[in-house]
């Protein structure tokens, strides 16, 4: 593993190398260098399987994080690669030429986060949300509760109690 990281450090602008959960090594790379890096990992280092492609919305820092986890089946090891992209007109290079099933991940991310992957097959077709006409629902500035209340006829009478307040009132009503 150390050899691979040293090799990657020489060839690509990687930073923030650290250990994630279960000993998986995570590293960040500039968005423009991601596809060459994944190609190199697949061709030279045996990381031939894309396990997951997921997105995180860092609203305060005004950027999206994309996480690619690749797996080496012979060494039974995972490697996580993070990419940060701008939140406005978010666009990322598609990796469907390396892994065909990445197109499905990308289609879902396009729908849920609004990150575009130009050239990815069927990326503009609806995946789960048919006829959706609002903000992409997984963005953090989309108010799920407000949308649900406006759209889906909430049944009156639902109350949520803060457990601490509720038990305090129940057990010590005088205080």
């Amino acid at each position: 593993m150390k050899d691979i990281i040293d090799h990657l450090k020489k060839r690509f602008p990687v930073y923030e190398i650290g250990e994630g959960p279960n000993g998986v090594i995570f590293m960040s790379v500039e968005a423009a260098k991601l596809v060459p890096m994944l190609t190199s990992l697949k061709a030279n280092h045996g990381y031939g399987i894309l396990v997951i492609l997921s997105a995180v919305d860092w609203l305060e820092e005004y950027k999206f994080q994309l996480t690619y986890i690749v797996n080496n089946p012979e060494e039974k090891s995972d490697l996580g690669i993070r990419v940060f992209i701008k939140r406005e007109d978010a666009t990322m290079d598609s990796v469907h030429r390396l892994w065909e099933h990445a197109a499905t991940f990308q289609r879902e991310i396009k729908e849920m986060f609004g990150i575009n992957f130009p050239g990815s097959p069927r990326v503009d077709e609806p995946f789960l949300l048919e006829g959706w006409d609002n903000l992409p629902p997984m963005r953090r500035d989309f108010d799920t509760k407000q949308y649900s209340e406006d759209t889906y006829f909430p049944r009156p009478g639902r109350e949520t109690n803060d457990p601490a307040e509720y038990m305090k009132q129940k057990l010590y009503p005088d205080e």
């Binding site: 949300l129 006829g131 649900s148 889906y152 006829f153 909430p154 639902r158």
Partner: protein, 224 residues
């Protein structure tokens, strides 16, 4: 209907359902409007119940043979198969599963309903023949349950379909579902289970609610 409105509705239509021209065997042009030509455009009518002993007899007969559409939405579809196993044996109550909407009289909404599923449920419900009944399982169909603030899951089923019996729980055990079937039987025998007629009478209200959430409505006026 104005052209603009027409275009708006065409946007969601499948390509084979849009207006198109077919060349016949002798070279003649045939204009096809699939929604009008292939689907019935009539709306359903209220079927008034018979009076007196005859209706009582019919209701008894209906209540003793409940044929359920074998269709599951959400987690409740896992609770249904044990119902037909020897341990619970719903068949002794006259309850059996049928594979198509045309053959069945009871639609069980088993759990949360995403908007995408709701569209299929409406299609199935409207294809069923009268008299038809709806049983709603779980708290998700009552007030949204744990998906009450979800962006894609409806909260109250009774705004989209007429519900006869609600069975509370998350999820209800097979015993609770059997009890729900017995409640439905009582309701049918007392002559109160007129959900199908209620749906026809208030079709406009139901349609407004349905179209509010199903934004890519591309179905005929009524799915016969």
């Amino acid at each position: 209907m104005s052209d603009k409105q027409q275009n708006q509705e065409d946007k969601f239509l499948a390509p084979e359902n849009r207006k198109h021209t077919v060349i016949g065997p002798e070279g003649e042009e045939i204009h096809v409007d699939p929604l009008n030509d292939y689907f019935c455009q009539d709306l359903p009518k209220v079927e008034a119940p018979y009076k007196g002993v005859l209706e009582k007899f019919l209701n008894w007969a209906r209540s003793e043979s409940l044929w359920v559409l074998a269709y599951g939405t959400g987690c409740g579809s896992i609770e249904l198969p044990p119902l037909f196993s020897p341990r619970f044996d719903a068949y002794r109550f006259g309850v059996m599963m049928r594979p198509t909407p045309r053959q069945s009289g009871v639609l069980i909404i088993s759990g949360y309903l995403a908007v995408k599923t709701l569209k299929r449920v409406i299609r199935s419900y409207e294809q069923m023949q009268n008299p038809k009944y709806v049983i709603a399982l779980g708290s998700c169909t009552i007030n949204g349950g744990m998906y009450w603030d979800s962006y894609n899951t409806i909260n109250r089923l009774d705004h989209y379909l007429p519900v006869d019996v609600y069975i509370a729980g998350c999820m209800p055990r097979p015993e609770a579902i059997l009890s729900g079937f017995n409640k439905l039987k009582e309701r049918i025998k007392s002559g109160n289970a007129e959900g199908a007629n209620e749906y026809v009478e208030n079709l406009e209200w139901y349609r407004t609610n349905q179209k509010k959430v199903i934004k890519d409505w591309n179905m005929p006026p009524y799915n016969w």
